[in-house]
């Protein structure tokens, strides 16, 4: 009789952990074992074949005794089934004296031990006790492992909170002329992404974004150390030059590099970073890039998006050239997006990366709204793309709208002129400026403003031809005119020599000098003049007039 079918037996199983399954096709042996194990305090459940084993076995048993030779599924097949489904349970095998090789095979497959028939019941009882104890220990070990796993998880949660509070800076509450939004979605693991905002003087805001290679506590600590070096360099500068010259971004990065390089090499790690300095009054962004993913600039006037690229290697790489900074100009309401590679490297379920092109499209679509809108839209696009809400890598981004606070100007018109670096092109440039301006500045009183831009434009073009291109003819000058409500700008692009408007001496206006008036005329004739040079050697001189 199958005692497992006896309801009495199930109900009396007060200690489920002590249940032992006995499988033997010989009823006498079965009864013998049941009686012996019951006497030792177990709750034995006997079955007569392998199929019944599969039917009865559950997580409630602490031990199993299997006869190897059984009708239907034999003992070895039962063993295989049990090890696959209840790996912690190790059955004891019963074998006839002539089938010891089967028993040895069973041991290899994960049996607890084997007993050769005929046997003494006491021998079985003590082996089952042993197996049951071992099973309990395994269970306890599993629980301990689970607790440890939870403790680790907890540690990661704590570490990720530390990362949030230590590594992720907060933007200045109210920086005139800049509107900032930022976001971090930490990954399941912590890593060394960080960003921070530094205000060295009232006119500039510095933003540093960095990504430490690798993950875990080590990357987070390295990130924290790096950040503290940045703050140290900055505060030492403040002390040494109170109110004096402001330290340049390239000098800051260089000082941090000197502090950190030995540690980075020692830890075999490296850091990519982007250091940006916003000067909203001058509308210039100066930056140093060390191998970071390229931030994007949305040109509000044209709707174009251009990446900001530098040329330095990440910190921690053996090659090191002097750090070089670049300056670019921006217009009111241009938007900059800084991010970590966790964003562009987010994968779709099919394994495709989100990539820079999709990011550019997002910036074009949402950038004109607010930085906050842009970041929220980006987040939902990336979540939709990846089909999940948690990411393998940290996902950080910072969006900055320059000279915000004004309503984004409505674009009225946009036109380009390409000329050669010859002085006889000056009249064409003049005509272009006058014709374009007249379209939007129609009042009689605007005439003086138009003459002003015309004059500044000719002075600028002459400078580019004579100095930028050293008088060589046939080189390109591209002029981009943009009119928006209340503002008009003419950007002159050339590939000539770099030029430093600040190096021009003040003009002498007593008639004793015939030259040196150009830069003075330019700055006096328009509301705003900015110069910048991008990393691939293109100069941009921008003239802006405002009206109305």
């Amino acid at each position: 009789m199958n005692s497992a079918a006896d309801p009495q037996n199930r109900e009396t199983g007060e200690d489920a952990a002590k249940k032992v399954l006995i499988a033997d096709d010989d009823p006498t042996t079965r009864k013998l074992l049941e009686r012996a194990l019951a006497k030792s305090g177990f709750t034995p459940i006997g079955v007569g074949d392998g199929d019944a084993v599969v039917e009865q076995i559950s997580g409630d048993f602490c031990a199993v005794v299997l006869d190897i030779r059984m009708p239907g599924m034999n003992g070895l097949e039962c063993l295989d089934y049990i090890k696959r489904n209840y790996p912690d349970l190790s059955p004891i095998m019963l074998t006839a004296s002539d089938a010891v090789s089967d028993a040895v095979y069973a041991m290899k497959q994960g049996a607890f031990d084997y007993i050769v028939k005929p046997f003494h019941t006491q021998q079985i009882s003590s082996l089952v006790e042993h197996a049951a104890r071992s099973f309990e220990q395994t269970l306890r070990l599993r629980e301990a492992e689970e607790r440890l796993r939870q403790a680790r998880q907890n540690e990661i949660t704590v570490a990720s909170r530390i990362q949030q509070s230590l590594l992720i800076g907060r933007p200045p509450a109210d920086f005139p002329g800049l509107e900032i939004a930022h976001m971090t979605i930490p990954s399941q693991e912590i890593d060394g992404d960080f960003y921070d905002f530094i205000r060295l003087n009232p006119d500039t805001m510095d933003l540093v974004v960095a990504d430490v290679m690798g993950k875990g506590i080590r990357a987070a600590f390295l990130g924290a150390a790096l950040k503290s070096y940045f703050l140290r360099v900055v505060s030492e500068t403040r002390l040494s030059t109170p109110g004096g010259n402001v330290i340049e971004p390239e000098e800051i990065v260089d000082a941090v590099y000197s502090h950190m390089i030995a540690r980075l090499v020692e830890l075999e790690s490296f850091v990519t970073l982007f250091y940006a300095r916003f000067h909203p009054k001058k509308k210039v962004l100066t930056y140093v890039d060390c191998g970071h993913v390229r931030p994007l600039q949305l040109h509000c006037n044209t709707g174009e998006v251009t990446p900001l690229q530098g040329e330095n290697m990440p910190l921690g790489f053996p090659e090191k050239n002097p750090f070089r900074q670049f300056s670019i100009s921006f217009a009111a309401n241009d938007v900059f997006l800084f991010y970590s590679d966790g964003l562009t490297e987010t994968c779709s379920p099919a394994g495709e990366q989100f990539g820079e092109d999709r990011l550019v499209a997002c910036v074009k679509r949402y950038g004109r709204q607010s930085p906050e809108t842009l970041i929220q839209a980006l987040k939902s696009e990336v979540v939709d793309f990846s089909g999940q809400t948690s990411f393998a890598d940290d996902f950080t981004c910072v969006a900055v709208r320059a000279n915000a606070g004004t309503v984004p100007p409505e674009l009225l018109g946009h036109q380009e002129l390409l000329v050669e670096s010859r002085l006889d092109e000056l009249s064409r440039i003049r005509r272009f400026i006058r014709t374009f301006s007249k379209k939007y500045m129609r009042r009689a009183s605007d005439d003086a403003r138009i003459s002003g831009i015309e004059l500044a434009g000719v002075e600028l073009a002459t400078n580019i031809i004579q100095h930028g291109y050293d008088g060589h003819a046939g080189r390109p000058i591209r002029i981009e005119a943009v009119a928006s409500r209340g503002e008009m700008s003419f950007a002159f692009y050339d590939r000539g020599r770099a030029f430093d408007p600040d190096s021009c001496p003040a003009p002498v206006l007593d008639g004793s000098r015939e030259g040196g008036m150009g830069m003075y005329i330019i700055t006096q004739s328009v509301d705003e003049f900015t110069y910048s040079r991008n990393p691939d050697g293109e100069n941009c001189n921008r003239l802006v007039v405002r009206w109305g």
């Binding site: 002085l423 000056l426 015309e454 008639g511 000098r513 015939e514 008036m517």
Partner: protein, 110 residues
């Protein structure tokens, strides 16, 4: 570079028949002015046709002024259009070179 020189007694009136005086023609202007500047003590430059002058144009006019004053001569300007006048004010040319409304006024005053 088109210049037309008329003389009234001992005064040379040089009419600049160009719409602009800028970096593209200021060197030529200086060269073409050389004759008048050497032959006359009193020179009037008539700018009534000139719609645009830039800093090199100003430089060229200052160069004429210097050559004349070196020889105790005198330079006057006339017919300065509004936009040009604004530039002259900006670079203080109006204080350095005497400016008259018409060439008759300029010639009369010598």
């Amino acid at each position: 570079m088109k210049l037309k020189v008329n003389t009234y007694m001992d005064v040379a009136v040089v009419e600049l028949r160009e719409k602009a005086l800028d970096a593209s023609n200021s060197e030529a202007f200086k060269k073409n002015m050389a004759d008048s500047l050497e032959s006359f003590q009193k020179v009037v430059i008539d700018l009534s046709r000139v719609e645009f002058i830039d800093s090199s144009g100003c430089g060229a006019l200052l160069s004429c002024l210097r050559q004349l004053t070196d020889r105790q001569g005198e330079l006057r300007l006339c017919g300065v259009q509004k936009n040009v006048a604004r530039l002259f004010e900006l670079v203080r040319m109006n204080r350095i070179i005497d400016t008259f409304a018409t060439k008759e006024d300029a010639v009369k005053g010598f």
